[in-house]
Amino acid sequence: MTDKRNDPTSLTGAYALNALSAEERAAVEAGLTESESLRHEVTELADTAVLLGRAVAPVTPPPALKANIMDMIASTPQLPPLQDDTTGETDATASVTEIAPPRPASPSAAAPTPPSASTTAPGSTPTPAERKAQARWFTKPAIALASVAAVLGLIIGGGVLVNTMGESQQNNQAADQLAAINAASDSQRAVSEIEGGGTATLVWSGELASAAMIVDGLPALPDDKVYELWFIGEETGARPAGTFTVSDDGRTLRVLDGEMHAGDAVGVTVEPRGGSETPTTEPIVAITSA
């Protein structure tokens, strides 16, 4: 800290308020590893800043925002937890870069990192309080970039935010209908694995008698085949509800044609191009709504 302008101890307030340049922010974060009192102050001032944030009047978001976000996360993988050792947490630079490449998920990757106290060795490794302060305040630019990339990818691939991307009117309508279903007071959602890979997400509302299917990771079919959707009722049997194909990324949103009846299941089969009146193959996925 020979550069007095970047002396972290004078910058804690501005740091907590996000009022620093990138260079100064880095200086503070580097300083956090060296000074317990600095960590302490930064943590407290950041908590204070949160109270300023909580003093702002809440704004109720439009239902479509939730629909978009739910649709996005349905196909966005979560980052694997940070390993519960001190690797990469001993200085700011390592901590920032470490998270850039998402590691392959291990079978236990879905589990949250347990509290560190019991596994943190004494001596050279930081105390839990130190780790807490460090882990808490290091920025994660790589994640921010990944988020933006994911959003863009989903905008293009999902057809949900298509109005900003100039896609077809039809996609727009589908997105609107999906948003309406999501916004219904009795909106429900179920996710199922598809035989042969991919996932199917069914969103439906009994009130609107309407359902939408979002598929992800479904293989493209030969030109003479299509995927066909079915409402399946105990009494009515399978009723055709429209066909779809998948885009290059295997991701499609399709609002089902026709009315959904209470208790209907929704299935998908592979049919000859143009669709069938009754299913001719076994379903690759079927989701019950009862």
């Binding site: 307030g13 204070t48 003093a55 702002v56 809440p58 979560q78 996710v191």
Partner: protein
């Protein structure tokens, strides 16, 4: 005849039945990939996130975009959230402010932010709050604590936090040296910390 696969219900029904669940518990479930928990967490905290983001960005469409990015980041990084580091709400609101400021800076060239707008911005921080009893109480606490600051501290903190201005911009807006702003921001935040009883 089509065979049916029973849909995976697991915990989802719990959330749909309005069982009281804390944000911390929800975030822990989100970390396990639970989308229903994410939806419930969103319902609880999205109005605060959007309120804060819009406070900084003003533009509603941009605010929704940024809110979307924030929730995507919550989803992606919930696996790395450590509850010993502070509550879910603190984690999310800190992230939200950071992202809102990032966007303010990124669109700085198109910002219409002269000195007058900047100063007004500080006053507007206290308009139309209190949609719920809780937010009213939280607002009034902060407002009261703010009154304990010197005017320069108060203006500097407000411009930085609610306006998304950097300390050098704050210095320009208030016509004081940048070193003075740094000091005022720190002194002001320490004063607020003490007034609000924040201790780690």
């Amino acid at each position: 005849m089509l065979k049916l696969v029973t849909r995976e219900t697991d915990d989802r029904q719990d959330f749909e039945s309005d069982a009281p669940v804390t944000q911390d518990q929800l975030l822990a479930r989100v970390a396990q990939g639970d989308q229903a928990a994410f939806a419930a967490l969103y319902d609880q905290i999205a109005p605060r996130v959007l309120g804060l983001v819009r406070r900084l960005l003003r533009d509603h469409a941009q605010s929704e975009e940024v809110t979307q990015e924030i929730f995507l980041e919550i989803w992606q990084t919930a696996t790395r959230y450590d509850s010993t580091k502070g509550g879910a709400s603190t984690w999310i609101m800190t992230m939200a402010h950071r992202r809102a400021v990032d966007r303010v800076r990124a669109s700085q060239s198109s910002r219409d932010r002269d000195t007058k707008i900047g100063i007004r911005d500080y006053d507007a921080a206290y308009d139309n709050v209190a949609e719920t009893v809780q937010t009213r109480v939280e607002h009034e606490r902060v407002e009261k604590a703010m009154l304990r600051l010197t005017e320069l501290q108060r203006q500097a903190v407000s411009l930085a936090y609610y306006g998304g201005y950097s300390h050098s911009e704050v210095a320009t807006l208030l016509s004081v040296p940048i070193g003075t702003v740094k000091t005022r921001l720190r002194d002001g935040m320490i004063r607020l910390r003490d007034e609000l009883g924040v201790a780690s």
